[in-house]
């Protein structure tokens, strides 16, 4: 049995990866020590996490300076839509996990089905989000309304663009999977797309409570 994560960090000698980042180790051994998927996507993921992290903290500390404005404005958000979208993204992520599991058993067909389902859920997210945006715009809310809505629109729109990018990546993976481009032995591409998609999900998991719930 593995020790719980918190102990694991303390107990093991920290093996800082060589910064030489050959970026090819993952290609050779997909299930070992190294990150799933292509290493390059992980550099990208960490950079994206950094951008979102800075954005979240900018929101949080701006809020601290304008508590009343933020609380009053937040009331106008559609929390149900936000929660439903969280469910949609989590489910989509889950489908992607199933897609990776499928290709690990060499089942390209099933992998493709799960990927298709995941992309469809991404589409559902976009549609719900667009209704939300449309409602805000028709209420005359824009980036210049106030600091809260500036952040709300910027953050969600920036995330929205990431959902689109993630769907494009998944679609590319799906196309290759349909053509039998992946196998149990070689499916780095699937893991690469999956990792990115989970990041899009992860970011939303923080965004939802931060912008829609905490007040």
């Amino acid at each position: 049995m593995r020790p719980p994560f918190f102990f694991a960090v303390a107990l093991r000698t920290p093996r800082v990866p060589e910064f030489s980042l050959t970026m090819t180790d993952s290609v050779q051994k997909p299930h070992s020590d190294s990150l799933p998927g292509d290493f390059a996507i992980w550099i990208f993921i960490f950079a994206e996490l950094l951008v979102f992290g800075v954005f979240f903290l900018a929101y949080a500390f701006s809020r601290a300076n304008n508590v009343e404005l933020f609380n009053e404005s937040q009331v106008h958000l559609d929390r149900v839509a936000g929660a439903v979208n969280t469910v949609v993204l989590l489910t989509s992520s889950y489908f992607v996990v199933r897609a990776v599991a499928a290709i690990r058993t060499d089942d390209s067909r099933r992998c493709g089905h799960w990927l298709g389902a995941a992309i469809a859920m991404g589409g559902v997210f976009l549609v719900i989000k667009m209704f939300e945006f449309a409602a805000k715009f028709s209420a005359g809310i824009s980036l210049s309304t106030n600091t809260f809505f500036m952040f709300y629109l910027s953050l969600t729109f920036f995330h929205f663009m990431h959902v689109i990018l993630g769907m494009v990546i998944l679609a590319a993976v799906l196309l290759k999977a349909r053509g039998g481009g992946y196998s149990a032995a070689d499916h780095t591409g699937v893991e690469t797309g999956a990792s990115y998609w989970h990041m899009v999900d992860l970011v939303w998991l923080i965004l939802f409570p931060l912008v829609y719930v905490i007040h």
Partner: protein, 90 residues
């Protein structure tokens, strides 16, 4: 005799994540707030995100360094959000 179909671990995680999302939403709907509630919401967020990182992204099976990096990121972000909330109370 029938065996109950066994759920995959990832399915269990998914269901747990959905339940926790429902909880967060419920807290939002109820409208109660305060340092305790917000800390709880942030702790739930931290837990959920780490679950996604561990089980969906598969960081549980790679060098602890990477998992630690993501965990560190989540701790810093969530706790600073908490700090900002604390500042806003005063």
């Amino acid at each position: 005799m029938t065996t109950t179909p066994r759920l995959r671990p990832c399915t269990v995680i998914w269901l747990v994540l959905l339940a926790l999302t429902g909880l967060t939403w419920f807290i939002g709907q109820k409208g109660t707030t305060g340092l305790g509630i917000v800390s709880f919401v942030l702790a739930v967020t931290l837990f959920k995100s780490q679950m996604v990182a561990d089980h969906f992204m598969g960081l549980k099976h790679v060098r602890p360094f990477w998992r630690g990096l993501v965990f560190g990121y989540l701790v810093v972000v969530c706790s600073l959000i908490g700090v900002a909330y604390y500042v806003s109370l005063s």
